[in-house]
């Protein structure tokens, strides 16, 4: 299922403002890749170009290539709706559909694809919730609203919803920033399991988290306000946090900047 992403010469804009410039990098399958960097460096924007969510922001445009196992996501034949179904996303704040039950939240993506046989849905809902480490906590109240869960449970529900449609890549935009430490730990454990089957990209503000969960880390920065964000370096997480090649990276991770 997991696929490789190769980004080359990517720029993203908000109107005329360039948010990120000339990004080229490869994201390997069955690994966790972390994007780190100061606020405004464009790491979330970059993440949102990977499933074509960026262009939904008013004025949002993209130039360059994002190849998913050889297919350009911005190619003429490609349908952004299909891209988003293939590449799942988990957001900063848990966002289960407030009017839907836990069950319906997980089944939402499958129903879009026209899979509505109850027995089939039952299977996938159970498998996805199990995969998101939530099944035991909610199996007796699947018909209750998803909004009634705790923040950490809601975020795992959102992960279950994302993996229910069996995406090839899972994008996570600061998935723990709204959660308490215990819930954060639960999500981090989950990420470690999920990477066995998915390509995972995670944006995080928290460097310890990047160090804990990721295999590869990419560091982004901006030189000045109004300038676009750029990739400074990308390497094994261990190397980035112990012996980075760039001075800027070292300054950032040791807390001298940002």
């Amino acid at each position: 299922m997991a696929k490789r992403i190769e980004i080359s010469g990517l720029d993203a804009f908000y109107g005329r403002t360039r948010a990120i410039a000339d990004i080229s990098m490869a994201v390997e399958p069955r690994q966790v890749t972390a994007f780190i960097g100061p606020s405004g460096c464009g790491k979330s924007t970059l993440l949102r170009t990977l499933n074509r969510m960026h262009e939904l922001t008013p004025g949002g445009t993209v130039e360059g290539k994002v190849m998913l196992d050889g297919t350009d996501l911005y190619g003429a034949q490609v349908d952004p709706v299909a891209v988003r179904r293939t590449i799942g996303m988990v957001f900063q704040r848990p966002n289960p559909f407030p009017t839907m039950s836990i069950y319906d939240n997980v089944a939402a993506g499958l129903r879009l694809l026209g899979r509505t046989r109850r027995s089939q849905l039952d299977d996938v809902v159970e498998r996805s919730l199990t995969g998101a480490n939530l099944w035991n906590e909610v199996k007796d109240r699947l018909d209750k609203p998803g909004a009634g869960l705790s923040g950490g449970q809601q975020q795992r529900l959102c992960i279950a919803r994302a993996i229910a449609v069996q995406p090839q890549v899972l994008l996570m935009d600061e998935p723990c920033s709204a959660l308490d430490p215990i819930s954060t730990l639960a999500i981090e454990d989950l990420i470690a399991t999920l990477k066995e089957s998915y390509t995972i990209v995670i944006v995080t503000h928290n460097m310890q988290q990047a160090a804990r969960v990721s295999d590869v880390t990419a560091f982004f920065t901006i030189t000045d306000a109004g300038e676009p964000g750029r990739l400074v370096e990308m390497d094994d997480t261990n190397k980035i946090f112990t012996n980075p090649s760039e001075k800027g990276t070292e300054d950032y991770i040791t807390g001298r900047f940002g």
Binding site: L68, T71, Q77, V78, L113, Q168
Partner: protein
């Protein structure tokens, strides 16, 4: 090439496209009557949009005569609406102040708030019936422009309360606290700081409310009655109102009356639209001021 990235089922795409087309078409459909109404009013209204219309009343105009005008009705409307504003604005503004500054969510404030909502929903003809029942039949006063103004203020008050309340709530609490902390009495804080801050917003709300009641016909017919003559006093005897004039002329079978009805409608729309436009301009002009 991998078709998972290119393939979205034709059914889903078709539904999406259909929804898009229908939603756009609905907007077009909604605009048709607006365009049609404005077009008809302008086209038919211009025929009698002349000096006669604005300087003469309908006195001594026979049922099939041309000529005649709405001077008496325009005069009446201006007086009635001005009186209604004079009556309702102070009461409504004070009520809004009570709700925001003094009520503090108590039982009185909550019931006032509830009944203001209920009052917003009162049909305009019921407001007219109430003044008829209370002022004319109950107190034995005559039909007059003032009675009409009373009916209009019943309709105007809840609208002004709601909009003023909203504007007062937008005033940041820090402003109040800073003033109170300096020992400025609460009422002076309200008069000198809260009201001026919310002023343009309140004016916008008042103008929209005035525009709304200026077009009301039903309450007038039960309170100012009808007349074809000029009555300069809003306090004695039947008066006319412009919406009432339109209704009256529209109900007559001869084409000269219909012509007058259209011109009355054109005048009425001009008044209402100007008030609306003025209100929007004030609201628009105020926006950059707050962000500055």
């Amino acid at each position: 090439m991998d078709d998972t990235l290119t393939h979205v089922s034709a059914g889903r795409k078709l539904k999406d496209l259909t929804a898009k087309v229908l939603v756009g078409a609905a907007f077009g459909l909604a605009v048709i009557p607006l365009v049609s109404v404005l077009w008809m009013v302008v086209k038919n209204g211009l025929a009698r949009f002349d000096l006669d219309f604005f300087t003469h009343s309908m006195r001594n105009i026979g049922p099939f005569d041309a000529h005649g005008g709405a001077y008496h009705a325009i005069l009446g409307t201006l007086q009635q609406v001005a009186l209604a504003a004079l009556i309702s604005i102070p009461i409504a503004l004070l009520t809004a102040i009570y709700l925001v500054e003094y009520g503090e969510g108590g039982r009185l404030a909550r019931s006032i708030s509830f009944f203001v909502d209920v009052m917003t929903g009162i049909p305009s003809i019921v407001a007219g019936l109430f003044i008829l029942a209370f002022w004319v039949l109950g107190l034995g006063m005559s039909f007059s422009g003032f009675a009409g103004a009373l009916a209009l203020s019943i309709l105007m008050m809840p609208v002004v309360v709601r909009s003023a309340e909203e504007m007062l709530r937008l005033v940041p609490n820090e402003l109040r606290e800073a003033s109170l902390a300096l020992g400025v009495p609460k009422w002076r804080t309200i008069v000198k700081i809260v009201l001026p801050t919310a002023f343009t917003g309140i004016v916008t709300g008042v103008m929209l409310a005035v525009a709304r009641v200026a077009g009301e016909t039903a309450p007038l017919m039960l309170t100012v009655f009808f007349t074809d003559s000029i009555n300069n006093s809003a306090f004695s005897g039947a008066q006319m109102g412009l919406p009432l004039f339109v209704f009256d002329q529209a109900g007559k079978p001869n084409p000269t009356a219909i012509d007058r009805a259209w011109t009355g409608a054109l005048t009425l729309i001009l008044i209402v639209m100007l008030l609306n436009l003025g209100a929007r301009l004030i609201a628009w002009w105020r926006r950059p001021a707050t962000s500055r």
